[in-house]
Amino acid sequence: MTEEIRFDHQIILQWVEERSRVLDLGCGDGTLLKLLIEHKSCHGTGVEIDEKAIYTCMEKGLTVSHVDIDTGLADYSNKRFDYVILNESLQEVINPQRVILEALRVGKKVIVGIPNFCHVRARLQIFFKGRVPLTKELPYQWYDTPNLRFLSLKDFRYFCKANTIKILQEVGTAGNKRVAFRPNLFANTGMYLLEK
């Protein structure tokens, strides 16, 4: 039985070229890395801070390093990887600017996936309820969220411009669909392929 591949993972699989060297920052249980190895014959390395997830990655036969993203990049040489992936992990790092610039140093290209904190539902909740948004995609209360950073697709575009980072691709997604029309309003997540 083949499990259905998550939509964001499908997009990443389309972007990553065959036999690439990939570093997945915040690789979790290693699902994406395993897919990249199986479907794209990649050489994958994961970085993950959760001890339990390390065991799961090892069980999948992956190479994985038990370190946090903020400090885990400094050791790698320049352009050691073809792709560095920060999918659903950027909003949890302490210094995202440094992490992205470091990722662009060790990787030729960088893939970033961010949750859109300015989705229309979130905006309506702020406007009408006067409360910090709580949606299916942003399920955390203010007091127990792992997210340290709150940004929109638009914020991220501004960030890239200010740091002279080229956006090669941008895809907004909602569920299993691409959002082409006003993604900053209607996409739950933004996926980016970057280069510097």
Partner: protein, 374 residues
């Protein structure tokens, strides 16, 4: 119950002695060793494991008639982390040791008497050089993995850096790349305890009364460094031994006092004091980066690494493992690492069986897939 017998191999007969790092030549050399599992047809499933300071070649299984298995038996055996259905394990006693390999208690063929302090200084590099003779003798061209904890990890690192063509992968556990001032200091206290015992007699005590008090004290210090504040508190707390209240004298009150006495008493029966001196000094001499940067040391190896450390280990703290991992990554090597949350201190590498077994068995499975003996 799997039974194993210690074997031995003698080599470097004069005039072909082994040139030690100190420049002195040593030979003949005998290594005591044990093997577990079966070497396969193309000899591609061999794993060399190394013991720590006071260990020996008896890593797993049982000696005939004995009721205690080898020191790493929970990790080595059928279906275990180092699965003897799949792999052929080898463990030898280090030179300088006292469990069947050539060491200070061995007879010096030139004098017919035990070496004592006339035994030459051996380094981790020398221990590994001797092991290479054994691996050649067994006809193994390349080891699927070299693995050890503590001092065993140091040997694994020397194998990977000095004989890279022999090593496909390394599992380094609770170990480091150089001994620090704190580690040297703790060893020095232990050595002073031995040498301060009048029975030590300048190391010439064989056939007379042994420096039991000094060696016991050294072992007590060792035991304290192998545990953690938390593991000692959980194991002993302030529990009294068969006493209702404190004795207000210097007899033993606390369980921890009794434990140290009991464990060190056993140790004195099985370990040679001079070996303790030699091997602890060997550890203190260890510094992979003595001749330059640590990143350069790993330049020649192509081995895959699994580096394991433990949160409560203060003897070989995990920051030292992380330093090693950084140097490995800087060399573009394939390295996986984990800091296991454990309260057992340095002893964790012997007792945290479940997590380590999983990590090791999965790592070895991947190593075997990508292993080309040629």
């Amino acid at each position: 119950m799997d039974i194993v017998e210690t074997q031995s191999y003698t080599f470097c007969e004069p005039p072909n002695e082994l040139q030690l790092k100190s420049g002195v030549r040593l030979g003949p050399i005998t290594l005591a060793y044990e093997t577990y599992g079966k070497l396969n047809g193309d000899k591609s499933n061999a794993i060399l494991v190394f013991h720590s300071l006071t260990g020996d070649a008896h890593a797993a299984f049982y000696h005939k008639g004995e009721d205690k298995p080898g020191w790493w038996d929970p990790m080595i055996g059928p279906g275990k982390g180092f699965d003897t259905y799949k792999y052929f394990l080898i463990c030898s006693n280090v030179i300088g040791g006292c469990k069947g390999s050539t060491g200070p208690a061995s007879i010096n063929p030139k004098t017919g008497k035990p070496f004592g302090l006339s035994f030459p200084f051996v380094t981790i590099e020398d221990m590994v050089a001797a092991q290479r003779y054994l691996i050649d003798h067994l006809g193994i061209k390349k080891l699927l993995c070299v693995s050890g904890g503590s001092m065993g990890g140091l040997q694994a690192l020397i194998w990977a850096t000095q004989y890279p063509e022999y090593v496909h992968s390394v599992i380094a556990i609770a170990t480091n790349t150089r001994h620090t001032a704190q580690q040297i200091a703790l060893h020095e206290v232990a050595r002073q305890a031995i040498m301060g015992d009048p029975d030590w007699q300048g190391g010439d005590y064989y056939g007379k009364s042994i420096p039991a008090r000094g060696l016991a004290l050294a072992r007590m210090i060792g035991h304290i460094t192998y545990m953690s504040d938390k593991s000692m508190d959980e194991k002993f707390g302030r529990k009294l031994i068969s006493k209702e209240r404190l004795g207000y004298d210097f007899s033993h009150d606390f369980e921890v006092e009794n434990y140290l006495k009991y464990r060190s008493g056993n140790f004195v029966q099985r370990f040679d004091a001079n070996s303790y001196l030699y091997i602890s000094k060997t550890l203190d001499y260890f510094d992979l980066s003595a001749n330059g940067k640590l990143t350069d040391v790993f330049a020649k190896t192509k081995a895959h690494f699994l580096v394991i450390s433990f949160t409560s280990d203060w003897l070989y703290p995990s920051y030292q493992s992380k330093e090693m991992v950084r140097a490995l990554k800087a060399n573009d090597l394939d390295v996986s690492d984990i800091e296991i949350n454990s309260s057992y201190g340095h002893d964790a590498f012997l007792v945290e069986v479940e997590g380590q077994s999983k990590l090791i068995s999965h790592f070895l499975a991947r190593m075997q897939k990508g292993f080309n003996i040629n």
